[in-house]
């Protein structure tokens, strides 16, 4: 091992990594249920916050929560899952403070805790002020937190702190282009998510002209993300020299972007029906079912997959940068 490589090493702290992974895993269902809140327009199914109909959130009767109105189930579950993410973040911050050697990373974990508090407060503000604009902001920052959690899991991993050098030696270095590309995908897909949030959180005050601009932008950026992902996939598979920990999530990323395009088309159909109904009798028979199960699932899946793309792109980007840095230092 070269002297310069040693500089990147810190002791791997399993507890911090495990908590970060746990947090990341917990945030995904949180985002799903949060998406359902929007899909079912259930944001105001509980009028108070942080309490639930005057109850302490954790003491709210299980019977009404689970077997009461569906909107209440969705909204209250979202709050409980949010608290769970909060508890994991507290645990993460405490563990990092106690065991983590890298001081910047300790502060990073404190930042995670603050971020989760801010996100919760934003959700609360949405309810207390009954502002759809806040719901939209909350919907945009949620996936950002998901990405932060994934980044935390990445940077606390064994590969990151000690294994990267070995992985890179085995694969023979990394392509610089890839990290820029995945960074671009990250930015573009986040822009895409923000545009999507404008479409989802539309109110009766938005003009059809404005809405159309958002729709066109969402389409255009979708094409950009898709192209970038294909490019990323090509570089990833043809260069053949990616560290496995970069190559692997890259494949997933590309696959999921394709899935997302399909879900996007599905979302269009279950919201606005087929654009060319007269083409085919069988397709023309389709009638949108308002608040239907499949309709809601497809739309929500489109939203959740969007945040999954952002998190995966974050992981790829962070790992690619790390790999490049380690291999530069090793040369």
């Amino acid at each position: 091992m070269t002297a310069s490589a040693v500089r990147f090493q810190a002791a791997f702290t399993p507890i911090v990594h495990r908590l970060a992974v746990l947090l990341t895993i917990a945030v995904f269902p949180l985002i799903w249920v949060g998406g359902l809140v929007t899909t079912y327009d259930a944001g105001m199914a509980v009028p108070d916050w942080p309490g639930t109909y005057g109850w302490n959130m954790f003491a709210y009767p299980i019977s009404t929560w689970l077997f009461g109105p569906f909107d209440l189930l969705v909204e209250h579950s979202h709050r409980l899952l949010g608290s769970l993410a909060g508890f994991f973040s507290i645990g993460l911050a405490m563990a990092a403070w106690k065991y983590e050697e890298r001081s910047w990373f300790r502060w990073w974990c404190i930042g995670i805790l603050l971020a989760v508090v801010a996100q919760g407060a934003l959700g609360g503000a949405r309810v207390l002020l009954d502002q759809r604009t806040f719901a939209m902001l909350h919907g945009c920052t949620g996936p950002l937190f998901f990405a932060l959690a994934a980044a935390t899991a990445t940077m606390s991993s064994r590969w990151w702190v000690e294994g990267a050098a070995v992985d890179i030696r085995n694969s023979g270095g990394t392509k610089g282009r890839l990290r820029w590309l995945s960074g671009l995908i990250l930015i573009a897909s986040y822009g895409q998510l923000v545009l999507g949030a404008q479409l989802r959180h539309v109110t009766g005050a938005v003009s059809h002209q404005t809405f159309l601009i958002f729709v066109h932008s969402h389409f255009t950026l979708a094409a950009v993300v898709l192209l970038l992902a294909i490019l990323q996939g090509l570089i990833g598979s043809f260069s053949g020299r990616l560290p496995t920990r970069v190559a692997h999530p890259t494949k997933w990323l590309v696959g999921i972007v394709f899935l997302q395009v399909a879900l996007g088309i599905g979302t269009w159909i279950v919201n606005y029906a087929l654009p060319w109904q007269e083409l085919n009798g069988w397709l023309a028979k389709y009638v949108i079912v308002s608040k239907g199960y499949w309709e809601s699932m497809i739309v929500t899946a489109h939203m959740a997959t969007g945040s999954l793309i952002i998190s995966l792109a974050t992981v790829v980007t962070f790992r690619a940068w790390r790999a490049a840095k380690v291999s530069n230092a090793a040369n």
Binding site: T64, T133, F134, M136, T203, G204, F211, N271, Q277, A284
Partner: protein, 446 residues
């Protein structure tokens, strides 16, 4: 409005840092950082709010600028003052999207009193929320506003993406109903549309909603339709029949004390118009007792319809014949390829006097919020997708009553028109129309 104030107050506090400083000076040191942190969070919230804007207020219905513009073109008058006056007068009568009202003149008349329920009206309007008993409020904004728009103008945010465009409720014209040509739909008809959805269009089915919620939404559609029609009739009356040469508004809310006679005159005019419209809604005669059966050449079974080949052949002849002349629009094979370019009532309503295909002429109206003009085509009957329902009874009603607001005419019928179609003829036409989307060997070929 309340939420607006809360944000404004928060923003106000931020702009006066001494307020916050004074507050934190009394606290301990660690609290100072917490306060600062909190301030920052609120600050970024407000910054985000400035960037994106808080919820734009949905406090009032938008005025029907397209009809006003058409009347201005027709009369050469400037109606901007009157449009505003009409808005105010309508708000007086019908309230706002936040707190709608049922005009007093309708409540005091037994025929129109029970047309809609006041509780339903309140529950349909306002912002979306729900409670522990699963009562939903703001139902129109939860389910309809994205397409139909806050005032039922059919120009909601998503409208430009949809084909056909969402219905503009304001002229009070509806397509799929059991009543005669030009007659208002029954509430049951509207409710039926909500349950069924409109296949082949973006109009969803709301069959998963609770029965009461459907009633509520139906009432709200009637409310918006009556309000919208009162608006356009009032504007028309003002533009065509009143002397407006002095350019003064014809009514102002504050005239109640200063010019009581004019105040009452304006109010009375609006009430008369409203009453007339509401009466048309009160008891439209429905033909929904119609039942077609085997003896009519149509046999309904669970699996499929069996059509009498004889009826289908007669129907085909009528379809292509001179009297029914269906093929002149729908084409001889019913593919919907027979007609000349045409537009529906909702487009012609505002393009009156202009060429709907002339983009330059249309441009100023597009700026007022009009959707791009789109021609209407006769249905391709081979698809077997019937927007108003595909039961033989539904098709029967479409043929005898036509489809309001579209070129599809009501057929000429026998006693009134000696050359017209008999009841049996219409039934044969129904059989033929249904056969077009079935196995063609059933008489599809002559």
């Amino acid at each position: 409005m309340h939420s607006y104030r809360a944000v404004l107050i928060a923003a106000h506090r931020l702009m006066q840092p001494e307020l916050n400083q004074h507050h934190s000076a009394t606290l301990g040191r660690s609290n100072t950082t917490t306060t600062r942190m909190f301030t920052r969070v609120v600050y970024s919230l407000c910054a985000a709010c400035l960037v994106c804007g808080c919820d734009a207020p949905l406090a009032s219905f938008s005025s029907n600028l397209l009809v006003a513009n058409r009347l201005e073109r027709q009369t050469g008058l400037d109606l901007s003052e009157q449009t505003e006056a009409v808005d105010q007068l309508l708000e007086h009568l019908f309230g706002t999207p936040e707190s709608p009202r049922w005009p007093k003149c309708l409540e005091s008349d037994v025929r129109t009193k029970s047309l809609i329920s006041l509780d339903y009206l309140a529950q349909a309007a306002g912002p979306v929320r729900s409670d522990q008993a699963d009562q939903h409020f703001g139902l129109f904004r939860e389910h309809c506003v994205f397409c139909h728009g806050l005032s039922g103008s059919g120009t909601g945010p998503t409208s430009s993406l949809l084909n056909p465009y969402p219905r503009d409720f304001r002229p009070g014209v509806f397509k799929f109903k059991t009543t005669g040509s030009g007659v208002k739909p029954t509430k049951a008809d509207l409710r039926n549309t909500l349950v069924r959805g409109i296949p082949g269009t973006s109009m969803p089915t709301f069959s998963l909603l609770k029965s009461e919620e459907l009633e509520i939404l139906t009432d709200y559609v009637v409310y918006l339709a009556i309000r919208g029609e009162a608006e356009r009739r009032l504007l028309t009356e003002l533009a065509l029949d009143m002397d407006l040469t002095d350019g003064q508004p014809f009514w102002k809310p504050d005239w109640e004390s200063t010019r009581p006679a004019d105040y009452l005159a304006g109010l009375e005019l609006a009430e008369q118009i409203t009453q007339k419209i509401a009466l048309a809604w009160a008891q439209p005669e429905s033909q929904d007792n119609l039942v077609l059966s085997e003896s009519d050449g149509i046999q309904l079974t669970n699996a499929s319809r069996e059509l009498d080949p004889g009826a289908v052949a007669r129907g085909r002849a009528l379809f292509n014949g001179k009297i029914a002349a269906c093929s002149s629009c729908h084409g001889t094979e019913g593919k919907g390829d027979g007609a000349v370019r045409n537009f529906d009532f909702w487009t012609k309503d505002w393009t009156d006097g202009l060429d709907p295909d002339d983009r330059e002429a249309i441009r100023p109206l597009r700026k007022l919020g009009a959707l791009k003009t789109r021609p209407i085509s006769p249905r391709n009957l081979q698809l077997g997708v019937f927007r108003g329902g595909s039961d033989p009874e539904d098709i029967y009603l479409r043929i005898v009553n036509g489809i309001d607001g579209t070129p599809m005419p009501a057929a000429a019928l026998k006693p009134i028109n000696p050359q017209g179609l008999s009841e049996n003829d219409v039934q044969d036409l129904v059989s033929f129309v249904l056969s077009l989307s079935q196995n063609t060997s059933l008489g599809g070929n002559p």
